[in-house]
């Protein structure tokens, strides 16, 4: 049924063909968490199915089941109408299922070619690895993807994040897979790179591959998907053709209520400068960064991924050492030598990489929240659990955290809920200046509104906020002023009044107007 049906089925009646992959009655529980309950999902050749759901709805868990990394407790998986078992990732490859996972999972210290072919490298007649053919094939795969600019011999570590994604896709293509899964592939990409990815998805569609696309961004879903499936709390609550469903309808399925995401309106009571940075430089990462942050202001930092925004923020918060420049808080020069110093001074940094820099997996939620505030919850260096619990409760409940108890290990929370714990942790230090690096990356629409509402609340209370974001609507909707960075330098500073997206994109990419 595969190749012959492909062309005739294209636009008209989409469900006409049989699903390439069909899941039915899938359930999966982790200790104390029911991640999936009796869900089903179908993927059709030449079509993109969007999987939509709140944080923790079970999307990534399903992906891991489809790729043989987790085993379902119940349910069947069939490919091309045939029931299959996927006991390992290898078995999933065998059935032509590949995935680009939510976390980038590649090998930094191996070459591009090897990243693409690890596990299915071409062999010589002696059975040993044929490096020459492997390189050649790698170049071919990259070329067909219009990614010929990537050197097959380069070490992956030396590639930009967008190119790494392309390598992940090339790997999926090299396996000659019929089913390609992408779990939030755009979360770390900038506009331009997202566009390139979409071109690629179109290309895959044309080749008749069945694609599963997971994203929290509705504009992307409407742009690329043909069908949708919605999960809520581990259950399938709806599916259909995307063109038949409106955004508000899908959102209602997703959260069980309707949400209008309007950026909260604030009375702009911008006061005196709180933080002023001038001439901040780093030997290799950025140079001559200067700006002022005022009381009650949200200062947006826009730029392409890799523009160096995170590095600047980490320097201001004492994590990276600088080679020159001054940081003044309330008119006093500070020179933080560690995050501890800057927290003490009242500047906190909510990091971008949640898993690596944000949560301490292995510690319960309340201990994560209290970690930077221990000096306040404790008495002469001794822990006071009651204080820690009440601190943790007050902040996590305001962010609508979904957890069974505060003593639960953060590692068992979904990505989005982990992000809430991270934000709660930093808010609990009652800072003067809070730097949020991609605060809504990977957060579902409902929680996103909560985070934005919270930011508005913070500035209303007189805090100052720096928000690093690669999402244009967020930047435009939340910031009072926007600083655009490009390749380690400040490219421009804009007032939000009358600012449009195109100006920002042009400045960020260095294209003259």
């Amino acid at each position: 049924m595969d190749t012959t049906a492909r062309h005739s089925e294209t636009d008209e009646r989409l469900p006409a063909s049989a699903p390439r992959l069909a899941l039915s009655g899938i359930s999966k529980s982790f200790p104390g968490v029911r991640a999936l309950h009796n869900v089903s999902l179908s993927l059709y050749p030449g079509q993109v199915t969007a999987l939509i759901g709140e944080n923790g709805a079970g999307k990534s868990t399903l992906v891991k089941i489809m790729t043989g990394i987790y085993q379902p407790d119940a349910g069947t998986i069939s490919i091309d109408g045939q029931a299959v078992a996927l006991p390992s990732a290898h078995a999933a490859f065998g059935h032509g299922v590949t995935a680009i996972h939510q976390e980038t999972v590649l090998f930094d210290d191996l070459s591009v070619a090897e990243n693409i072919f690890l596990g299915h490298a071409p062999r010589t007649r002696l059975g040993t690895i044929d490096w020459r053919t492997m390189r050649k094939n790698a170049r071919e795969v990259l070329d067909t993807m219009h990614a010929g600019h990537i050197d097959a011999d380069a070490r992956l570590r030396d590639l930009g994040i967008a190119n790494k994604h392309l390598v992940a896709v090339a790997r999926a293509m090299s396996i000659d897979s019929q089913i390609v899964i992408m779990d939030e592939p755009t979360a770390a990409l900038s506009m331009k790179e997202i566009e390139e990815l979409f071109l690629l998805i179109e290309f895959l569609k044309e080749q008749g591959k069945a694609i599963l696309f997971i994203s929290h961004k509705f504009d992307e879903i409407y742009r690329i998907a043909d069908r949708y499936t919605v999960f809520r709390d581990g259950e399938m609550v709806g599916e259909g053709l995307i063109r038949d469903a409106g955004q508000s309808q899908i959102v209602r399925m997703m959260v069980g209520r309707s949400v209008d995401h309007i950026f909260p309106r604030r009375k702009a009571e911008i006061g005196a400068p709180v933080l002023s940075v001038s001439g901040l430089s780093h030997p290799t990462e950025f140079r001559d960064i200067g700006f002022e942050l005022h009381k009650g202001e949200i200062l947006g930092f826009y730029g392409l991924v890799g523009a160096g925004r995170s590095e600047v923020m980490q320097a201001i918060s004492g994590i990276t050492r600088v080679s020159g420049g001054t940081i003044m808080l309330h008119g006093k020069t500070i020179a933080p030598k560690s995050a501890a110093d800057s927290i003490e001074a009242g500047i906190v940094y909510v990091p971008e990489e949640r898993g690596k820099q944000g949560v301490v997996i292995g510690l319960p939620i309340f201990q994560n929240v209290s970690l930077p505030s221990l000096a306040h919850t404790s008495k002469s260096g001794m822990l006071r659990l009651a204080e820690e619990f009440s601190l943790a409760r007050s902040y996590t409940e305001r962010l609508d955290l979904r957890a069974s108890s505060l003593s639960q290990d953060v590692g068992t929370l979904s990505g989005g809920n982990q992000q809430k714990v991270v934000i709660a942790k930093w808010l609990a230090t009652t800072p003067k200046v809070i730097i949020l690096d991609e605060p809504t990356k990977g957060i579902d629409i409902g929680s996103k509104a909560a985070v934005h509402g919270f930011m508005a609340e913070l500035v209303a209370q007189g805090l100052s906020v720096i928000m690093v974001s690669s999402e244009l609507p967020e930047i435009l909707g939340m910031s009072d002023r926007v600083i655009v960075m490009r390749e380690g330098l400040v490219a421009a500073v804009y007032d939000n009044e009358g600012l449009d997206a195109e100006t920002l994109v042009r400045t960020a990419a260095g294209i003259a107007a």
């Binding site: 995050a339 301490v360 930077p372 221990l374 822990l383």
Partner: protein, 333 residues
């Protein structure tokens, strides 16, 4: 129309099922300890004797003292293989001091300070230069003991003052030795430090995710440095005790102790990967190792055969909960 739902209440903790308390690591160790105690008193008529039991404690007190600090270090994700070499170097320095006419207080001071200094050296290499502790301490292990060999060669230092003998041979009350009292005090101090203070909490945080801990304002380098110093300090204290107990110093003193200390820590339920563990577990593990070696000693079982038991105990005690869980889960691997 946005209807904002009331925030969900999140309880502090779910009621712990009784089974999880019963199947905790410490409970398992208590059972093992009681079993070995019972077997010992059954197998040898000499075991249940206050003097025997007192002698038994010497089998674990010195290593146990180091194990407390090592437990913290391992929880933080580091390790120190040089502890036995630190003992040798500290002891050698004390021996030199005796030669130079130092008195008992001076000797103790020197032992402790040299230990601290060696720990600080390890700590500097690991935290300042960012080197992996396992290889750094394999190096310093040879270096420290090597210095002891250079100083002493085939000689021995002896002639420690009478009063110095108290630390390793003295009794505080009846059969309660000074070493045992020190061990118990250290257990309480380290328990408090690890489980009841900010410092201890930060140690756990570092062990689970050093980067996130650093971002959260934990001075990771400083805490790790302190932990290396503490481990050195405890090795220095152990050196005082051993030197006092032996009454002499040879460069080969305390050879092979490092692996026994680490075995004790791991048997005590400290995760070798960092991030988890308890002092109660380490105390129990020290006791168990003392009971096994002494009990088998009473039956004149050679030391190497005892070590089979220790090795098996280590693997079985760690494997048991895993196998148990799998069997309850109904799927044996």
């Amino acid at each position: 129309m946005t209807d904002v739902p009331a925030p969900r209440h999140i309880p502090d903790r779910l009621d712990k099922p009784l089974s999880s308390a019963i199947f905790s690591w410490e409970a398992l160790l208590v059972v093992v300890a009681i079993a070995i105690f019972a077997i010992n008193s059954f197998a040898s008529p000499y075991f249940l004797d206050p003097y025997s039991l007192s002698d038994l404690t010497f089998n674990f007190t010195e290593k146990g003292l180091i194990a407390f600090a090592m437990a913290l270090l391992i929880i933080s994700g580091e390790i120190d293989l040089s502890v036995a070499a630190i003992i040798a170097l500290a002891s050698t320095m004390m021996g030199m001091a005796v030669q130079a006419g130092a008195g008992t207080p001076g000797l103790v001071l020197i032992g402790v300070v040299v230990g601290l200094g060696c720990g600080a050296f390890n700590g500097l290499l690991v935290t300042r230069l960012g080197l992996p502790s396992i290889v750094v301490t394999i190096g310093t292990m040879s270096l420290f003991r090597g210095i002891a060999f250079i100083i002493l060669g085939d000689q021995a230092y002896k002639g420690y003052p009478e009063s110095f003998a108290f630390f390793g041979q003295g009794y505080v009350w009846w059969v309660v030795s000074f070493e045992l009292v020190l061990f118990l005090i250290a257990a309480v101090v380290y328990w408090f430090l690890l489980h009841r203070t900010n410092f201890g909490r930060r140690v756990f945080a570092i062990g689970n995710n050093p980067v996130a801990a650093q971002f959260s304002g934990v001075r990771v380098g400083r805490i790790k440095f302190i932990l290396f110093c503490l481990t050195g300090l405890m090795s220095g204290i152990a050196s005082v005790l051993i030197t006092s107990r032996l009454g002499s110093t040879r460069p080969s003193i305390a050879q092979g102790y490092e692996l026994e200390v680490i075995t004790m820590v791991v048997l005590g339920g400290v995760s070798i990967l960092g991030g988890a563990g308890s002092i109660v577990g380490v105390v129990l593990a020290a006791l168990i190792m003392g009971l096994v070696t002494f009990g088998l000693g009473l039956l004149n079982v050679p030391g190497i055969v005892m070590s089979i038991f220790i090795g098996l105990l280590l693997i079985i005690v760690i494997a048991l909960p895993i196998v148990w869980r799998r069997m309850r889960g109904g799927r044996l691997a």
